[in-house]
């Protein structure tokens, strides 16, 4: 039973590790559909909550995988999910870095960069759409998300953690009758 969970975590996160083009934000949509939809390990609401925690906590957003692992199989699950997500991509990066360091401005290098970049960008907006679809208060979430995004573009030096706390306070205020 437990072993099955750990193998399942590996089967989900190892492929995503090698697909996270442009960074961890690009695989949120995929992790969501696998973990919530295909495997049914956690509910949509739990997933949005884990996403929120992974973004409010320090470290890369991909610590989402650590949380999914923890949720399903405790400490072992957290360790296995983290390794499954971070090790394959790190090994690949290590290998490519060593091989390409000597000839860094090769044309293939540039083609890879320019070709993969828009795929990564498309995956980020796919993640945004997936997360908004899961939200229980779609209108409120969409409004807050766009508000936060616009604020960030207007004030690039805005602290992300202040923004996240602000979002939490506004939503709590609206839900609480005395403030609302």
């Amino acid at each position: 039973m437990k072993d099955e969970d750990l193998v399942g975590l590996l089967a989900v996160f190892v492929p995503f590790s090698l697909m996270s083009i442009g960074g961890g934000a690009s695989i949120i949509a995929g992790i969501q559909s696998d973990v919530v939809g295909v495997r049914g390990w956690i509910t949509a609401r739990e997933f949005v909550e884990l996403f929120a925690i992974s973004r409010a906590a320090p470290g890369p957003g991909t610590m989402l995988a650590t949380l999914v692992g923890w949720h399903i199989a405790g400490w072992t699950g957290a360790a296995v999910a983290s390794l499954a997500l971070f090790l394959p991509s790190s090994l690949l990066c290590y290998a490519v870095f060593r091989l390409s360091n000597a000839h860094r401005e090769r044309a293939w290098h540039r083609a890879m960069r320019e070709g993969l970049a828009p795929v990564g960008t498309g995956l980020i907006i796919a993640g945004v759409i997936s997360l908004l679809r899961l939200s229980e208060a779609v209108l409120l979430s969409t409004a807050l998300a766009f508000g936060a995004g616009v604020l960030l573009l207007l004030f690039p030096r805005l602290s992300p953690i202040a923004l996240i706390l602000g979002g939490g306070c506004i939503a709590a205020g609206l839900a609480y009758p005395f403030f609302g």
């Binding site: 492929p15 995503f16 697909m19 960074g23 934000a25 949509a29 995929g30 559909s33 909550e49 973004r55 906590a57 320090p58 991909t62 650590t66 949380l67 923890w70 971070f86 991509s89 790190s90 990066c93 290590y94 060593r98 360091n101 000597a102 860094r104 044309a107 083609a111 890879m112 960069r113 320019e114 070709g115 993969l116 828009p118 795929v119 960008t121 498309g122 995956l123 980020i124 945004v128 939200s135 208060a137 409120l140 979430s141 409004a143 807050l144 998300a145 936060a148 995004g149 573009l153 992300p160 953690i161 923004l163 996240i164 706390l165 979002g167 939490g168 939503a171 709590a172 839900a175 609480y176």
Partner: protein, 192 residues
Amino acid sequence: MADEAADAVKRQPIVPLASLFLVCLKIGVLSFGGGLSGWLYQEFVTRHGWISDEDFASSLAISQMLPGANVVNLVVCMGEQLRGPLGSIICAFGFLVGPFFAVIAMSAGLSRMGDGPVLQATMTGVAAAAIGLLLAMFWRSARRYAGQRVGLVTVAVVGVTVGLLQWPLIAVVLVVAPISVYLAWQRTKHEG
């Protein structure tokens, strides 16, 4: 050029693994909400002078091009340049160990606080603001493709199929990425 780079590396004093670990641990624990490559630049290039500006830039390009969290890739490259394979392991481990315990502590703490409507609403707001961070990230990178039809179409195809139609991400990437790289390859060839 490769020889020059190799000489530069040889001339640098050996950075102790313990210092590497501590710097990465610090950045990992204090790294709230992204913008981490700026932090790494500050520590490795500006403060400690371990890595040259140019080496940092090329490491960053590789980190962003390859799959994986950009910062983790970046610390792997920094570690490799300074101390080889062991350096990479120490840097990645040092960077991730703090956030590993931090997210679990936060998650465990939250579930102990119960499931009241206010807490639920707060988490919805936190998630929404975090989605806003992704939106801003999306907008900044999407702007680069203005006037570049192939890039815009690629962004749209991936966004619609994976986001709206919920097609499997891996299948979409395995089809779209090679086409996109091939087209970029054709472009670079024509530009000489």
